[in-house]
Each structure stands twice: as C-alpha cells, then as structure tokens.
C-alpha cells in the first residue's frame, strides 16, 4: 500500500514539474519585438479609441516629418498596464498622461528628467506651464502638453426665463441655484429641476477634484510648500474651515434641490443631470463642451468664468504632460517627438476634430496659439483665460494620489453628516495628510 502511494506521489511530482517548466517556457517568449530599433518609439496615451484616432493623425504627421516611426498604444487602464511593464524594466519610450501623476511616477523612478532648453520651441511654453512639471528635486520631469481649467456651464434659456444673470460670486450662484430649483425654469409645472450638479463621491477622489475650485476660491490649500522640497498639510486653516463649512451648509446640507439628487454618491459618469436637462449649473472641465453641444444643444447653455469666492475666482487646472520613460536609450528621438508635440503644428493637429473624433489638446501649451481661433469657437477663450489668469493645479511634485483620496474621503464624510463638526473633522484630515506626506519623506 505504502509503495503504491509513493508511486502516485512520484507521478504527481513529475506532472507538476512538467507543468512548471511548460509555463516557464511559455512566459519567456513574449518580449516586445521592436524595442531595440532606435528609430521606432513606443508611445502610450491614456485614450479611448475615439481620442486615439486623433493621436494617430498627430503621430502620422510626425513620422512624415522626421522619419521616426511610432508604435502607438492607446491604453485605457494605463496605470495597471504601466506597473506591469515597469516590473519587466522595459518602459514605453514616451507616455502622455495626467499632470497629477507626475509625482507618483517620479517617486517610482519611471521618468527621465528633461531640460526645457532641450525642447525645440520650449520657449513658447509659458513659465506657468513649465513650473507645473518641476519635481521634488527641482528638475523637470515632464513637458506640458495640454491644459484645461474648470469653468461654469450654465443654462442661458433658464436664466432668460427667470430674468436672471449669470452669477459672478458664490452668493449670486446660490440664489440662482435656488431659483432654478424652485421657480420651475423648464415650465412643466413640476418641481423637477435642480440648481447645481456636484460629483460629490469619494470614489477616485471626485469630491476633492470638484471641491478644489471652491477651496482655491475660499483661499484654502490642501497642502502647501514649506521650503526645500518639503510640504505641510493646510486643511485646518481658517480659510479651509470657512470654505468647507460654506459648501456644507449651503450646498450639501442646504435648501432642497440646490444640488442634484444623489450628489453625495455621484461620480462624473453618473452626474449627468446637466446634459439630461434637469440641472442648471455645472462647474467642470471643457472636455464636456462637445458632449453638451450634442446632448443639450449649443444654444441652450453658455460657458462662463466660475463665480468668485471670498479669496478670488481661481479654479482647478489640470491637463496632460509628455513623459519620457527612464532608461530607454532613445533620448534624441524622444526629444524630437516631444518638441513636435508642443510645436504649433503638432498642437493644432491635436486640437482639431476630423470625422467627429475628439480633440486631445484642450488649451494649447504653446503660447503662440489661441484656442478659440484654432477651434473657431469663442467659448474656448473663456477656458483659456481661466487657465492663464485664474487657475491653480494640484501640487504635482509629491505623489498626490493618496492626498487627493484622503481629502475626498474626508470632504465626502463632512458633506454626508450634516450634524458633524467641520473644524474637528478637518483637523483629523490634516493629521491624515501629515501621515501621507511623512510616508513620502516630504513632511516639514
């Protein structure tokens, strides 16, 4: 009996060993084929097929001009894919992705430092844009590519019907919102309209993303530089307490229907009340203009600067950078591509829509271009002006992802429990943020 069992075990061991070798053999045959060719660049963007069609045109123009071929990969779950490529130590040569990811990528060693002087035409990018690509160590880790700032989208037909003007201050915005909610602007005799759309969920940090413009307008910061590359959390400041209290009391816990129903669990994908035509105001990015033109109609709404708070009218700005992968050994070709991407020619191609495909550059970083002129749409000048004159980005040098997520978690909780004490909740958030900064060795 014991003998039999031993045989079976031996057989099992042989089978398993066979399987292991089999898998190992399968695993080693999948290296990317052309990563060695110096005249081919592998480029990744975080794009859906629609935006990828625009990038295709951009890269085709580049290849035609320089002879450098592009192996283009639009990737939707960019960061997961990038992590798995990072573990093979073979990164894409060039990546185009969110500005807010720079700190995270840099701390993981994924990026190559870039000297702005090495970018042909780099002088045409404004200092404000360049300053947003400076890492913790003072070197640049990205080339600005596309920028955008939040603006207020508002229903002009509703304003007209109720005899109101587009708001320019928080207080005016609140009274317009109340009028939209209670005075039946769509004239159907039912109380089914709402003032403002808010994606207030903590998921993916939306509460912090949408709330940031309010924080800037109230004079608050989430974290602030404390010298020599260090930061300190700033969410317990009087300005932050006042701003968050105002948002809570007037928007989330205020009069009924000032915000759309379900605002506290809404993400951008589910906060569709503005395009569905039952909410009157939405502070959001200009990429929505195309959507709203199609669903709501160009004649029904306008794009105006965000209403100002006690400390001014600054809004959240973000966008995309061109990042160069570390240790790829194709510096010359990569810089050539980056230079082309920010050149007037490259930016123009990316800003125009062919066959209805989505443009990929919103506000050009090249200061010789005018968004409204290139697009033939005056509304874009509102966005460009907001970006240039009254906008702030999230600090990109630290890994901002945990900071944004913790801020969103906290804001969402504050807005959910109307009975809570804002001051002590924000103090708690501040401690959490200090912990996040300490994890990155950035706490002053």
């Amino acid at each position: 009996m014991g003998d039999r069992r031993r045989h079976r075990r031996l057989a099992a061991a042989v089978t398993v060993a066979g399987l292991v070798f089999g898998t190992a053999a399968c695993g080693s045959g999948s290296d990317s084929a052309d990563s060695g060719d110096p005249n081919t660049l592998e480029v990744w963007t975080r794009s859906n097929p629609d935006a990828a069609a625009t990038y295709d045109r951009v890269f085709a123009a580049f290849t035609k001009k320089t002879g450098i071929r592009i192996d283009y990969q639009p990737v939707i779950n960019f960061d997961q894919q990038l992590q798995s490529r990072a573990s093979t130590k073979d990164l894409p040569d060039v990546m185009i992705n969110d500005t807010a990811l720079m700190g995270s990528y840099q701390s993981q060693g994924l990026l190559k430092p870039i000297d702005p002087a090495s970018i042909a035409g780099g002088g045409q990018i404004t200092d404000k844009s360049w300053s947003s690509t400076v890492g913790i160590d003072g070197k640049h880790y990205g080339v600005p590519y596309s920028r955008q700032a939040q603006t207020l989208m508002i229903r002009t037909d509703w304003l007209k019907k109720l005899g109101l003007k587009a708001p320019t201050t928080w207080q005016e915005m609140l009274s317009v919102a109340k009028a939209f909610a209670t005075r039946d602007p769509d004239g159907d005799g039912k109380a089914d309209t709402y003032g403002i759309v808010a994606p207030g969920s903590a998921q993916n940090g939306y509460a912090a993303w949408w709330g940031a413009s309010f924080l800037w307008q109230g004079g608050a910061r989430i974290i602030e530089p404390a010298g020599r590359g260090t930061y300190r959390p700033a969410m317990d400041s009087a300005a932050a307490v006042n701003t968050v209290t105002w948002m809570k009391d007037n928007l989330f816990c205020g009069a009924k229907s000032v915000l759309q129903p379900g605002a506290i669990t809404a993400v951008t994908a589910t906060a569709t009340n503005f395009q569905d035509g039952n909410a009157g105001m939405y502070m959001t990015g200009p990429y929505n203009i195309t959507t709203f033109d199609a669903t709501l109609g160009k004649d029904k709404y306008e794009v105006v600067p965000a209403p100002a708070g006690p400390a001014g009218g600054d809004v959240l700005a973000d966008g995309e950078n061109v990042y160069l992968g570390a240790k790829t050994g194709k510096d010359k070709q990569e810089l050539a591509l980056a230079s082309f991407l920010v050149s007037p020619e490259g930016q123009k191609i990316a800003m125009t829509s062919v066959d209805g495909h989505q443009p990929v550059v919103r506000i050009p970083v090249n200061s010789t271009l005018d968004a409204a002129k290139v697009r033939g749409d005056a509304r874009w000048s509102v966005v460009q002006k907001a970006y240039e004159d009254a906008s702030q980005q999230f600090p990109n040098a630290p890994d901002f992802a945990p900071i944004k997520q913790d801020t969103a978690d906290s804001l969402n909780a504050i807005f959910t429990y109307c009975g809570g004490d804002v001051r002590s909740q924000l103090r708690e958030l501040n401690d959490t943020l200090a912990g996040d900064l300490k994890d990155q060795d950035l706490l002053k």
């Binding site: 089978t15 399987l19 997961q80 993981q108 060693g109 998921q203 379900g262 506290i264 669990t265 959910t416």
Partner: protein, 311 residues
C-alpha cells in the same frame, strides 16, 4: 471561489498486486495527465498569482526600482487602519445579512417553484435571470430604482402610500442595507437552483407518510424537508459565506464604498489601496488576511458538516 481538485480515485483489488513491484506505474500517471490541462490553467491563473500576492504582501512594492522587503509592516498598517477596521464591521453585516437573506429567499423560491409543470419551468428561468446578468448592469438598474426623488421607481411606489422619498443610497444609515437588498436579489436565484436540486432528491414517500400522520405544513418543513436537504443547505451556506466575505462588485458598482465610507467593505478598501493609492504591497496584505479568514471559515464549516454527518 475555492474549487477542490478531485484526487484520482484509488483503485484497489486486482491492480494492487500487479502494480506492486514496478518503480513507475503507468496507470498512476494517466489520471494526472488527464488533469494536466486543468491543473496548468489553475496554476497559471490561480495559484501562481496567489503565491505572488502572498509574496508581495511582505514588500514595499516598487516595480521599477525593485521591491523592498519590509516584513510584516504592510499587515500592521492594514490592520491598524481605522478605515479597514470599520470595513470589517460593514463586511460582516453585509456578508451575513446578504447570505441569510439570499438563502431564505432562495429556499422560499425553491419551495414555490418546485415541480415539473411547464409554467414552472418558464418561471424558474425568469427568476434565475438576476444570477446570470452582469453585476455592473444590475448595479445600474438598482441605482435607477433607488433614485432618491419621487421619480425613482421605489420612491414613486412609496409616494403612493404617502411615504418618502427615501435616500436609499445617500443616507449613510441606509446605504448598506440598500446594497444588501440588491445582493439578496442577485444571489437568491442562485441558491434556489442548488436547493431545488436538493428538494428533487427528497424521498416522496416521506411526504406521503407525513400527510397520513396529519402533520402541519410547518412540521413537515421542519422534520422532513429540512433534514433531507441538509447537504444542499451546507453547500449553499459555504458558498454564501465565502461570497459574503469577499463581496466587492455589488458595492463597487452601487455606491463605491460611500457615502462617508458607510458601505466600504474589506475588498473595496483593498482595491482603493492598491489602485488609487498605488500601494500594491498593502493591498496584497489586505487580500492575504481575507484569504486566511475565508480559509479558516471554510475549514470550520466543513468540520461542522462532517461532525453533523457523523451524528
């Protein structure tokens, strides 16, 4: 799901003597060869990633710069995080409520829909639909039903009785139970199918005998049906426990863990840690903790079942 791989059945008797002396038994290899494709798939897609996950849970994961060994740091960080501690409570409430609810409803459905009539077959198919619909789609549907104004399906129903509107997903005291209701709706039909199979195996003569003794409906259920379907019930219970603990999709599509973290469960926390905070090591540690708890529970349920059978 934990699938137990069936070991090749031991053959006794005649083969025993013939096989005794050979050092390498051909017949012992054959079953393993047949199992090889399945094993290979399980190895590549299940056991290898699982082992890798356990391995990563001891590291500060930095794919490009090289992982750094930090021992049990990830575990202490996860277990001492108050949001994970809150998530344990939510996971237990949701897991237990959803499992018990889905089993009771599944059992009731099974009793109602047992039989051979053609109409019952159609009805059973209809009732089973939630179990085969993608959870993301179900989540979208329920979000519409839960819409927090009197336009929402459920709220318009409540409106008829002069109630509501209820903030099903936006009230932190209710959101977890709203998620639970959807979970029960999804999983009850699944349980129903297993219990139906159990019911089909009940000896009809027992029912006849019970009828002749003049027992009540409740007595028949308690003393005939339930003991007879105990194996099916145990399977349903084991599966539901495992599913309840690693609940993720239902919560992710319906509330994303909000509002104010009131529906955050263990797996949504682990997901946030791994994919929005980029802390793969911490997320691995959280998953390993869940794996251990699930394993422990499964072993315990199995032990109880064996003890129950022995009696």
């Amino acid at each position: 799901m934990t699938a137990t791989l069936p070991a090749p059945a031991a053959r006794r008797g005649l083969d025993e003597k013939a096989a005794g002396k050979k050092t390498f038994d051909k017949r012992a290899v054959v079953p393993w060869l047949f199992l090889a494709p399945g094993l290979l798939l399980a190895l590549v897609f299940k056991f290898w990633p699982m082992a890798k996950g356990v391995w990563l849970s001891f590291f500060d994961v930095r794919p490009f710069l090289g992982d750094r060994w930090i021992g049990l740091d990830n575990y202490t960080r996860v277990l001492s995080d108050h949001r994970f501690q809150d998530a344990i409570g939510h996971t237990l409430i949701l897991g237990i409520g959803q499992s018990v609810g889905a089993i009771l409803l599944g059992f009731a459905l099974a009793l109602l829909l047992e039989g051979q009539a053609h109409s019952l077959k159609i009805l059973r198919t209809a009732v089973f639909l939630p179990a085969v619909t993608a959870t993301a789609v179900v989540g979208e549907l329920w979000r519409l039903m839960y819409y927090p104004t009197s336009d929402g399906l459920l709220n318009s129903g409540l409106h008829l009785f002069g109630l509501g509107p209820v903030q099903f997903l936006d009230n932190p005291n209710i959101a977890l139970y709203s998620t639970m209701a959807m979970g029960i709706w999804i999983w009850a039909p699944y349980n129903m199918v297993i219990l139906l199979a159990g019911l089909a195996g009940v000896d009809r003569s027992l029912y006849e005998a019970a009828a002749m003794d003049g027992v009540s409906l409740w007595q028949r259920l308690r003393h005939v049906t339930l003991p007879a379907i105990r194996p099916a019930l145990m399977i349903v219970l084991t599966l539901a426990t495992i599913r309840g603990l690693r609940v993720f999709t239902e919560v992710y599509v319906l509330t994303g863990g909000g509002p104010a973290g009131s529906t955050d469960v263990w797996m949504t926390r682990a997901y946030t840690l791994g994919f929005t905070r980029n802390d793969i090591g911490g997320a691995s540690a959280a998953s390993v903790v869940l794996l251990c708890v699930t394993l422990l529970l499964t072993v315990m349920v199995n032990y109880l079942r064996k003890r129950g059978e022995a009696r």
